[in-house]
Amino acid sequence: MTHSRLWRQYFTVVAAALPPARGMLPLVILLGAWQLLQTGNSPYFPPPSDWCNGLVLLEKSGRLYPALLATTMTMLLGLAVAVVIGAGVGLLIGVSPRFSRAVGPLLEFLRAIPPPAIVPVAILFMGYDERMKLTVVVIAAIWPILLNTSSAAERIHPLLLDVAHSFRLSAVDRMRLIILPSVVPALLLGIRIALPLTIVVTLLVEILTSVEGIGALMIGAQRNFQSPQVYGLLVLIGLFGLFVNSVFAVFEAILLRRWPPKAQSENF
């Protein structure tokens, strides 16, 4: 597929799924009023136009894109690792009730610890570097993926397993041909839930440790009292999050074309 065709598909799907555009009115009014009311040089509430200037300055200094890239790469890489581990363990749990019972309370305990609390632990163990950032993102993203995968694997209809048995499928074939495809919708849902979590945790690490990324830029701007940049970066993060979520939603919709509509529209 050429790039332009991909973009066209993306925009069609996104446009169809969006709520009516007039819903943007409150935000537009807020920003507009802010812009109009802030004529002085308030260091605390700079007008939106200043935000743009702040961002442009950052870009010109060459720090914006590398930071954006660093944040994105960490997120994606962390997500990928989380998918592999989370789906793998999730499948094991879902497929074997004994393993599930044995590991259950331990997992419940680990799950109760909020991912942000893991960040200082990781910093202590691993220091201030990219590897630590990645580890934390993986730990945060793993839970929704693992839980969704394991619950879907548990709920595979027993008849499908009968079919596997009566066609004398090997354990490997059964996993490959029946169990794995069955959990794909739930896995995608888990990833969709994990996505905002990875953004949050990545930013948290960057703000806390100033490891390269948008969060680091933000806290740096705050420490230098560059308030337009702080607000500008906030907006950038918002747009970034929206973009990532919509890309994934489109990806998910395309992937789930083969599944019955019920699986496609499973909402949390």
Partner: protein, 260 residues
């Protein structure tokens, strides 16, 4: 979990594994088998908790965090229910605000920390800046959904009985929308705790969040883990407490309990 099921079906293999892992961890560290500077044995964490309690730092930290959570959650829930009601009742209002909500909702709370610091420096207000907006959304969305999803048949009933608008809202819509509202409030509470802790880690240096970071920087892993365990424990207590409270005061919310 159902009380009956709890007593009748204690997960023996699972508990055993849990206990065994804890014991193994203890033994491995204590015996020096695994020398890892920053991994304390479970007993050390327990001792750390005791130490913090004795020093008198634990209680004020817990109090600070709980107060921050309480304020943030209460404000967000109040605003969320109010706005949610308005939007739930008026399709026009919804049409003119849904897009804005969808744009604002995914904003990560932690990204507001630098803004909070900018405006309020090191203070409770910074924690509020981080906490209130993200915590608002589950309540608002759930209330909006609950109110707008009230079955049309119930409106017919209220008209048959010629109920005034106020009575309709109080006696028909509110009870019907309670289950999702309560679920939204419960999610918000857990979220408020996490965000408050985050705000204390990167914003206002007080409370449990700051405790975790402080002990990490001071290289006291046992105390750090003690704080983390406390946060986890409080989270469980808050969630369970909210669940119990909600089901006592609003029995109709029991239907939506579902998985936690």
């Amino acid at each position: 979990m159902d009380e009956r099921r709890f007593f009748a079906g204690i997960n023996w293999p699972g508990t055993a594994v849990f206990v065994l892992v804890g014991l193994a961890w203890e033994v491995v560290i204590r015996s020096g088998l695994l020398e890892y500077e920053y991994l304390p044995a479970p007993s050390a964490i327990g001792l750390g908790l005791g130490q913090l309690a004795r020093e008198g730092t634990l209680a004020p930290d817990i109090a600070h965090t709980l107060i921050a959570v309480a304020i943030g959650w209460t404000v967000a829930t109040a605003v969320g229910i109010a706005l949610g009601f308005l939007l739930g009742l008026s399709p026009t209002a919804r049409r003119y605000s849904l897009a804005s909500i969808e744009v604002l909702r995914p904003m990560p709370g932690v990204a507001f920390a630098p803004v909070g610091l900018l405006l309020f420096g090191f203070s409770l207000k910074t924690e509020m800046v981080v906490t209130i907006l993200p915590v608002l959304w589950p309540v608002l969305v759930n209330t909006m959904g609950g109110v707008s999803g009230v079955h049309p048949r119930l409106y017919d009933v209220s008209r048959t009985f010629r109920l005034s608008r106020k009575d309709t809202i109080l006696h028909v819509i509110l009870p019907a929308a309670m289950p999702p509202i309560v679920v939204g409030a419960r999610i918000s509470l857990s979220l408020a705790l996490v965000l408050t802790v985050v705000a204390e880690m990167v914003g206002n240096p007080e409370g449990l969040g700051y405790g975790i970071v402080r002990e990490q920087q001071a290289l006291h892993p046992d105390l750090m883990f003690a704080y983390i365990v406390t946060v986890g424990f409080i989270g469980i207590v808050l969630n369970a407490g909210m669940l119990a409270l909600a089901e006592t005061v609003f029995p109709s919310s029991r239907q939506l309990r579902g998985p936690q």
